[in-house]
């Protein structure tokens, strides 16, 4: 519910916080600007774009799962173009080596003929990384990305190299082809802030896609001035959450733990491991983005509920019975969402 104009009863005797309100406006404008640019090229993926942008502003990483050709790569490329950031694409294959991702030390000879090692950065040294079909690489290669995702640095030959800021990994995986793939380990999945299921576009959207991509002139994406991106990210984290609202995130996370008394029946029966604390962090951070976008300066329970599926679905591990019964993490999370607030 949007706030209506204040009535005569309202008196502005509160401490002025116009600076924050201006910055909130800037945030909304930046967000909507990026979204607008991306939607010039992408059709029918509004919710995915919104989620990717949320991950972008809270410095999280997103895992996009969907069939080939649904625009996963286009989303990432468009974001990089709209944000004016350096983009890097890594196609994960079974023979991809860690050094292919993070870089390696090369022996180089200087003008005096002396030889020395020089670090040659890999594709991970970019602002926005597209890890395409990440489940096709071996776990060794996948884990090479872990340090960069979590620590924002890579270590080569004992030497640490910081990745540039901002740093966003957007990985894609194909859920259809399972042969020759290496499902991501739980620890690595947990490092993704959100897992987004990219769905098939509706008929109208498909028409629009054809309209935009089969003409002589494809729409061009222009960069949006973001100003101080760090400032916007700080603004998001400054949004207050009262304990009663925060309790909703805790409630949802604990509801997925089978050993907890707060768990829902489906979790008690079919879940092996529940969501980690990173899940609660993801819920609160994304909810803050939603609050700012909604013109509020506080988080509501509705904001948290809205992010429950993308933030928690990849953090649940269904047990064998659940797999056999066809129980999905989404069902468990939906049951948790049905809990009274």
């Amino acid at each position: 519910m949007k706030a209506s104009p204040p009535s005569e009863e309202y008196s502005d005797n509160q401490p002025m916080s116009e600076d924050y309100e201006k910055r909130a406006v800037e945030f909304r404008e930046a967000f909507q600007g990026l979204r607008g640019e991306m939607e010039k090229f992408l059709v029918g993926q509004g919710e995915i774009i919104r989620s990717v942008l949320a991950a972008f502003f809270v410095e999280g990483h997103a895992l996009l799962e969907g069939a080939p050709g649904l625009g996963k790569t286009a989303i990432v490329r468009t974001l990089a173009a709209a944000a004016g950031l350096r983009f890097s694409r890594i196609q994960f294959t079974p023979d991809l080596m860690p050094s292919d991702i993070i870089g390696t030390n090369l022996i180089v000879e200087d003008e005096h003929g002396a030889k020395r090692f020089r670090f040659e950065p890999g594709p991970v040294f970019a602002n926005i990384i597209l890890a395409d079909e990440i489940n096709r690489a071996t776990p060794k290669t996948q884990s090479a990305l872990l340090e960069a995702m979590q620590e924002r640095q890579v270590t080569v030959a004992g030497e640490q190299h910081l990745v540039p800021r901002p740093f966003l990994v957007l990985a894609t995986q194909n859920p259809i082809e399972m042969e020759g793939t290496y499902p991501l380990p739980e620890a690595q999945l947990d490092r993704f802030l959100l897992k987004l299921n990219v769905g098939y576009p509706e008929a109208n959207d498909l028409h629009e896609i054809l309209n935009r991509t089969t003409r002589e002139h494809s729409p061009a994406v222009s960069a949006v001035p973001l100003g101080r991106l760090d400032g916007l990210r700080e603004l998001v984290r400054a949004v207050p959450v009262v304990r009663e609202v925060e309790a909703r995130a805790v409630q949802l996370v604990l509801a997925t733990h089978p050993e907890r008394p707060e768990s829902v029946p489906l979790a008690r029966k079919f879940v092996r491991y529940g969501a980690s604390p990173r899940g609660a962090q993801a819920l609160i951070l994304c909810a803050k983005v939603s609050a700012l976008l909604d013109g509020r300066y506080h988080v509501a329970k509705d904001d948290i509920d809205a992010w429950a599926l993308p933030a928690l679905r990849h953090r649940l591990i269904i047990n064998f019975e659940g797999e056999a019964e066809g129980v999905t993490p989404e069902r468990v999370v939906s049951e948790a969402l049905a809990l009274p607030r």
């Binding site: 104009p5 309202y10 509160q14 401490p15 916080s17 207050p240 009262v242 009663e244 609202v245 300066y297």
Partner: protein
Amino acid sequence: MDAIVVRRLREAQRRLVLQQFIDYAVPGLFAGLAVFAVSRIAAASIPAAEVPWWAAVAISLILAALAAMRRWRSLRSVALELDARAKTKDRFLTALALPPSETRPFLGAVRRETSMFASTLRPREHLALRIPVGKALWLLLPIIALGLWEGVRVWQARGLAPELATAQELIEQARRAAELEADKDEALQRIAEQLQGAEHQLNLSTEPLREALRTLSDLEQRLSSQSSLDAGEAGALAEALSRNHGELASNLRAGRNAEAAKNLAKLDPAELATALEQAARHLEARRLRELATQSGAAAKMQLGVMLGSSSADGKEGGRRRFVAALRDIRNGTPVADRDPSRQIEGAEASPGNEKSPSHAADNAPPSGLPGTEKDFGRGEDIAQQAEPLSSAASSEDFVEGEIGDGTSLIALFRAAGNDDPHARRVYRNAYQTAAPAALDAVSREQIPAGSRLLVRRYFEAIRPKE
């Protein structure tokens, strides 16, 4: 906390309490009416179990109000409800939970935004009162049950109408009887008051026993005054005797009681009993019937006394004689110790002897002073000369001559101390009439124990021999 937010929350709180009261009042009234219906039904066998309807309803409503206020006593719960109903995105909950002491700029922005929002919100629009009509229908159940129960009772009452009328009639009769008993109680109350006065005198007088006995003699006098034969009874008796005893009948009709008494003394006891029975049947007179059931001699004696009492000028004398007899008893003067010539009546009395010593002794001063053994209740004659009772100037009219084989009542009382069984029986009757009433009055009133004991001891002293 922002004042506007608090104001809105209070407004919502009142609204929620009212709605909650309505929600609770329906089941509360249901329970109250159910309790009332059950108590009403149970009251048929246990009258104390009935609960007034207003009490059941009032208690239900009070409990509902208290429960509603308790449910929404905290603003936090109100904020939660208001946020949920008005879809405020937890603005009120956030405004309520913000730390008041913290002054971070972003918190200021939050307060500003929530306050602006609260100023535009009207809780009334989101918390509309609703009547739980579906639940309210349940209230009909106890009402219908109660109506059925009352209907059955009314129907049963119609069937019992004759019995009810009979019962009401019986109650009315009982009420009348109670009123009659109340009249008797009043008479006893008067006696008790007299006894209380006597006791008072008993405490003040130097001769307590004498004064008390005086009062008792007055009481006996009053009782004896009721024994006169009235005109109806005399007429009925004359009618019964007219066939075989014309003279007696004519004397009775003419009011010549002295002559009638003489004739009566000569009458056969069996005939007298028959005549009394006829007269009693004719007149429905209880006294005559009682006389008829007595022995012939006793009946004759009693009738003689009654005739003497009912004579125009002999009423006072009869009472005096009765009192004198009581005084004799009171003074403990045995009949045998007395001078026979002083006996005022009886078979030994000389009829028509105007100078009878007994008559002279009745009025002879100073021995005739009230309270003395010579006092026969004629205090007014103390200053006068001794005057024969049978003289023309005297107001007394003794039954002269022989009135029968038996003795007079006074003589009987005088002889009661001896071994005459008949005298003792009559005396016992007189004692049994006066003593219980007096003792009962004494025991019921607030009388000092010593004085009460004195009265009892007096009655013990004059108790007839077994």
